[in-house]
């Protein structure tokens, strides 16, 4: 599938934004961070900015962005519509939580309720995003049990890495909790992505040129003549493929730069701060870890599209889907 920049930026930015929102909201709900105007503005501000930038980016690939409001209507059947509804619904507790965090000395129960609602909304929205892909039967690399966990873990890993960096910058003791969570999520994402890549390498789609044409009873089926000499929308959208050796190099970049490096940097930062060193190094390491995790997530998401094969290409000469 063609890796469209607007969709890659959207899913990575909104995933990190929802991850950060959920991390801060849960820390607030359990009283591990207390209302603080600076932390509220920077932390919730960055989460909402990432989410909003992602949602705006997603409208860039629409043919008619001015009609995007219609996408809220079909939540009964469409995961894309459910995602739109969940995304907008999550703004309500998220903005209220950010407001009480910045403006008022709110009672604990109110922060707990808003925090749990915001975190639940964030998780629900990421699940809806992942289900858009998970539900597409023609793309076997997406239509499997590992797609949704992949989106959740990437969102958690990038969001917790961001939360760790921000909390460290504000000198919050909760930064170690967020950091430990980031290390756990990065480790889980490492294992999960390797399992995902093994799955898509080792399983092939049920659909073949023989089932696509129904001519398997005669023998092996291959394209003799394409319908036309030029390219068409379907070939541009679904005919993208990435060379095997490039995919393997990019996978290594994801694993090392996106997961191992950031986990190591966060661990080092926590270790330094626990030994009473200056907090500055923890902030630098944490920020670098979050930046590397985001770059790794962008590469991972590019691969998620580039490596996915669509059954339509069986009609255009592909030997497998």
């Amino acid at each position: 599938m063609h890796p469209s920049a607007s969709v890659i930026v959207f899913t990575v930015a909104s995933g990190a934004g929802y991850g950060l929102l959920a991390a801060l909201a849960l820390l607030a709900a359990f009283g591990l961070i207390v209302p603080n105007a600076g932390l509220g503005l920077v932390g919730f501000g960055l989460a909402l900015a990432l989410i909003t930038a992602g949602l705006l980016s997603s409208t860039l690939h629409l043919g008619h962005p001015e009609r995007a409001w219609r996408a809220f209507s079909q939540w009964r059947s469409s995961w894309l519509s459910r995602e739109a509804v969940a995304a907008v619904a999550t703004y309500v507790p998220a903005i209220l939580l950010a407001a009480v965090f910045v403006l008022f000395d709110a009672p604990g129960w109110l922060i707990a309720v808003l925090g749990l609602l915001a975190a639940a909304g964030a998780v629900a929205t990421i699940i809806c995003t992942a289900m858009i892909y998970r539900s597409l039967k023609p793309i076997s690399a997406w239509h499997n049990r590992l797609t949704v966990p992949g989106y959740l873990l990437l969102g958690a890993a990038t969001g917790l890495a961001l939360a760790h960096a921000i909390l460290a910058a504000f000198g919050s003791p909760a930064s170690a909790v967020a950091g430990a969570g980031a290390i756990a999520a990065l480790a889980a994402a490492f294992i999960q992505k390797r399992a995902y890549w093994r799955l898509i390498d080792e399983t092939s789609a049920a659909s073949t040129p023989e089932t696509a044409t129904g001519l398997g009873a005669i023998g092996r089926v291959r394209l003799f003549e394409p319908p036309h000499t030029g390219r068409n929308y379907l070939m541009r959208e679904m005919g993208f493929s990435v060379a095997r050796k490039h995919a393997e190099a990019l996978r290594r970049i994801v694993l090392v730069a996106g997961f191992v490096g950031p986990a190591w940097a966060v661990a080092l930062g926590i270790g330094l701060s626990s030994q009473g060193s200056a907090g500055g190094m923890t902030v630098v390491l944490g920020t670098a870890a979050a930046a590397a995790a985001l770059v790794g997530a962008l590469v991972e998401r590019w691969l998620f599209f580039a490596e996915a094969r669509h059954t339509t290409m069986l009609y255009y000469g592909a030997e497998r889907a």
Binding site: M1, H61, L62, G63, H64, P65, R67, A68, R70, A71, F72, S73, Q74, R76, S77, S78, W79, L80, S81, A84, I132, S135, L136, K137, P138, I139, A206, S207, P209, T211, A212, T213, G214, L215, G216, A217, I218, G219, R220, V221, R222, L223, F224, E225, P226, P227, H228, G230, R231, N232, Y233, L234, E237, M238, H310, T311, T312, Y315, Y316
Partner: protein, 243 residues
């Protein structure tokens, strides 16, 4: 609404395509383009039509495949358009309600006034039946020529999809596949019509008829040599010239 009709009428309009008689002339694709460039989903935009890299929206494309090897191998021309599935995921994934399946006859259509051009429906179609119009920013697809089959202003004989009316080898048939007594249903039953990619469960309405088994080729003629040469005048000529 992108939920599928809760009480479909039982009528399932669609096509039956005969892979035995299709000669791969592309006349159906051209007739489709010609009619639909001015029809329900008009225009069918072409980009750079006279340039080096022409591309455009077509509802019907003719692929040609080789199946099998050696004497059993066949070359099969394979027209492909929307199959108007009973379980069209292209409809249910639509976030706006622009894609819909008509309860009265099962035809799958797009409302170009509410489509946001997100392209998700084209990803959900395993058959590549939907094509995005870059110029108009909306998705387009085969309409089963709704503007012909219901058109009271054209002669009744022409109230079939353009591809069906133009096919010179009579490889395309149109009718109600929900009615077991219809001509198309009986054709499917008689010829063993099949679904494309049945494993995905989209339950396409359109059916394909397999190439008929080829008759075993007659044995090559063996040259007969007359014992003692040809009789009569020709034999005399042969003997004279053979000296």
């Amino acid at each position: 609404m992108t939920c599928l009709p809760s009480s479909p009428s039982g009528k399932r309009l669609g096509l039956v395509i005969d892979l035995d008689t299709c000669v791969g002339c592309h006349a159906c694709a051209v007739a489709c383009k010609e009619w639909n460039a001015g029809g329900h989903s008009a225009p069918l935009t072409d980009t750079d039509p006279y340039g080096a890299d022409p591309t455009g929206v077509w509802f019907n494309r003719i692929h040609s495949f080789e199946a099998g090897d050696g004497p059993a191998g066949r070359t099969v021309h394979f027209p492909k358009s929307c199959l108007h599935c009973d379980e069209p995921a292209c409809v249910t994934v639509c976030p706006t309600g622009a894609s819909y399946k008509r309860a009265e006859d099962g035809i799958v259509l797009v409302n170009p006034d509410t489509c946001i051009g997100c392209k998700l429906c084209s990803w959900a179609c395993p058959y590549g039946a939907r094509e995005y119009d870059e110029d108009e920013g909306v998705m387009k697809k085969c309409t089963l020529c709704v503007d012909r089959i219901e058109n009271q202003n054209i002669p009744e004989i022409d109230r079939v999809p353009a591809c069906v009316s133009t096919c010179p080898s009579h490889a395309r048939h149109y009718g109600d596949l929900g009615d077991p007594a219809s001509a198309v249903s009986q054709l499917v039953a008689a010829r063993g019509g099949f679904d494309l990619m049945p494993e995905l469960g989209y339950r396409p309405v359109n059916k394909y008829l397999p190439p008929r088994p080829r008759e075993a080729p007659a044995p090559a003629p063996v040259a007969r040599v007359e014992e003692g040469g040809l009789p009569g005048f020709l034999g005399w000529v042969d003997r004279v010239l053979s000296r």
